[in-house]
Amino acid sequence: MAWIDKKDAAGGSASDIALPPASMRDAAELAVTGRRWKRPLPARARRRERLIGYAYVLPFTVFLLCFGVAPSVYALILSFHKEGGSIFSFTLAAYRFAFADPVFGSAVKHVLEFAGVVTPVALVLVTALALLLHSRSGSTAKVVGLLYFLPGAVSGSVVVLIWLFMLDPSSSPFQSLLHLMGWNSIVDVLANGNLIWVFSVMFLWAVMGGWIVITNGALKNIPREIDGAAQIDGCGPFALAFFIHLPMIRKTLILMSILVLAAASQIYTEPTVLATFTDDTVPWGLNQLSYRYAFQFGLFEAAAAVAMMLVVVTVVVAAVVVWRLDFVKDTQS
């Protein structure tokens, strides 16, 4: 579509490139031989392509191996390791320990409920807000975007301070809202049944802004000409957003859903923040449980087991999403 009207970088006219290359293969062929429509690709060119590809991806692969793969494999092996045994020991004791823990069941339930609630909500809200922001260009969008993002920049004890005040009905600016819910003291707010909502509010507050910025950035990459073409076809603003823009930022949305799901199922900061001023140190989520096993009990094997369980669930869901929605397939807009 859009490419057809433009001159290419080499200065040739549009008619020289009547059809865009249908695949990477054709593009490579074009690059190597300077000729179109000729098959097959010479072996030397294929090898060259491979070598160059490896060269550019090499530094990252080294870091991936050192800081991503190696520690993860270590954790995986550790989860099957017998405490005090040899390196080659294999046992399910760590997993059994976790399953036998009375807190484990409630932690799993909490994580499922929380991730199940917060991931779709985050997806919908982030997409909607990014689209809305995108429709308001100029300085409004910039300032509002910054405002949405700033909560993510606050960390540590400052977050504790903020929520200490926001959640306590006797000191919160949202007092009227809390009283409306029938919550008159912080004990009411933090009653067990309410925690999912409290954590959702805290989690979304910190996490949404970053994704709004990323999604907005992806939206900005959509060529303006497409908007114009859609307008000519009589496309209204909502239809434009849903049917044109959304599919074009598909990969970003997929990425977001995977990473938000992972962050939600691995919830750690929010319950820990709360524990600082409520002294309730019962692990609420699985990540907290893993931390407790590792650092309070020194049972690193059990900690690794819980972490692996978390990873497996997230990876399974992510794999389904990625393969079904062709994250890895090349797309041409």
Binding site: W3, D8, A9, A10, I17, P20, P21, M24, A27, G34, R50, I52, G53, Y56, V57, P59, F60, T61, L64, F67, V69, P71, S72, Y74, A75, L78, A128, L129, L132, S135, R136, L147, F149, L150, A153, V154, S155, L161, I162, F165, M166, P173, W205, G217, K220, N221, A230, Q231, P237, K251, A262, F277, N287, Y291, A294, A307, M308, A318, V322, S333
Partner: protein, 311 residues
């Protein structure tokens, strides 16, 4: 007003169209405003908190403004903390070093990788992408022990490099640049440039890099931010107060004071660090993010591929 809105203006029926448009605009503003309140009110609290001046006043309504004078007093309390070492500034400088290093590493290592996975067919390319995605979802808790052991083996515990080196692994940079390259990047350019006899390296430097203008600021910004707010791994690796990053330093400082929980565990009554000081330290720690964000916005608003095909 944006392009689509003005075209919509021309196209729609005069009266009902204008009314509908007004409703749409109001709706958009209303939704944005609700969320502005949600995100901003806690930050406004943070902004106003140092103006109260003492914990007693903080027991009053949190959005009340006290006096400008207390901002200065809180600042001087922060500067005199721990024998006037101006630790907050030192921590800020450390955070800057760690974050800038993280940005450089993330871009230099990540962008070529995304480019490579997007355009070059080599065996293992989908595997690398997959492994990258998986690595992004492994909980950090599980990785602390092996990372600690590895860094300890390299004698990097306690060293700044122990923080900088792991931050070079920023998979989001690869994924974001992969998405960008595979979705929005014009392949014809590569083909056309190769026809001209352009070598690969020159192709990358002269053609590809200038066109990453739209994704580079995003990657830079997010790697900066991720490094800026990172607490857990740096807290385990760093043990000298003068090497602390801002999050580590502020948590160490507030854990030793009565800012959050009044308790004898947390320090003498004479400790100058209280809630106003903690809030002000928090504001100090957000400031660079605001600046960087504003800076990168300049680049993010350029229309995509402008000039790329028109040269």
């Amino acid at each position: 007003m944006s392009a689509w809105a003005s075209s919509a203006l021309r196209l729609s029926h005069q009266r009902s169209g204008r009314a509908r448009r007004l409703w749409v605009r109001l709706f958009v503003y209303a939704v944005l405003a609700v969320f502005i309140i949600y995100f901003a009110v806690p930050l406004v609290f943070l902004l106003l908190a140092p103006s109260q001046g003492s914990s007693e006043a903080l027991n009053a309504h949190p959005l009340q403004f006290g006096s400008i004078h207390f901002y200065w007093r809180a600042w001087s309390n922060l500067m005199t903390y721990a024998n006037g070492q101006k630790l907050l500034l030192i921590w800020g400088l450390n955070s800057l070093i760690y974050s800038v290093a993280a940005v450089v590493l993330a871009i230099v290592i990540g962008v070529p990788a995304g480019y490579s996975i997007a355009f070059f067919r080599f065996p293992g390319r989908r595997l690398i992408l997959l492994v990258t995605l998986i690595a992004m979802v492994v909980p950090q808790n599980a990785l602390v022990l092996p990372l600690f052991i590895g860094l300890s083996y390299l004698h990097l515990i306690g060293s700044r490099w122990g923080v900088i080196l792991p931050s070079g692994f920023f998979p989001l940079a690869v994924v974001l640049s992969y998405i960008y390259f595979s979705t929005h990047f014009p392949r014809q350019l590569l083909g056309a440039a190769r026809i001209d006899g352009c070598g690969e390296l020159r192709l990358f430097v002269r053609v590809v890099v200038p066109l990453t203008k739209n994704v580079l600021p995003l990657i830079a910004f997010f790697s900066f931010w991720a490094s800026w707010v990172n607490y857990f791994l740096p807290s385990v690796i760093l043990n000298q107060v003068t090497t602390f990053s801002l999050p580590v330093g502020i948590i160490n400082m507030s854990a030793a004071t009565n800012a959050i929980i009044p308790s004898a565990l947390n320090g003498g009554l004479g400790s100058p660090i209280g809630r106003p000081e903690l809030a002000e330290a928090g504001l100090f720690s957000i400031l660079p993010i605001i600046i960087i964000f504003a800076f990168s916005q300049k680049f993010l608003t350029q229309s995509p591929l402008s000039g790329a095909e028109k040269t």
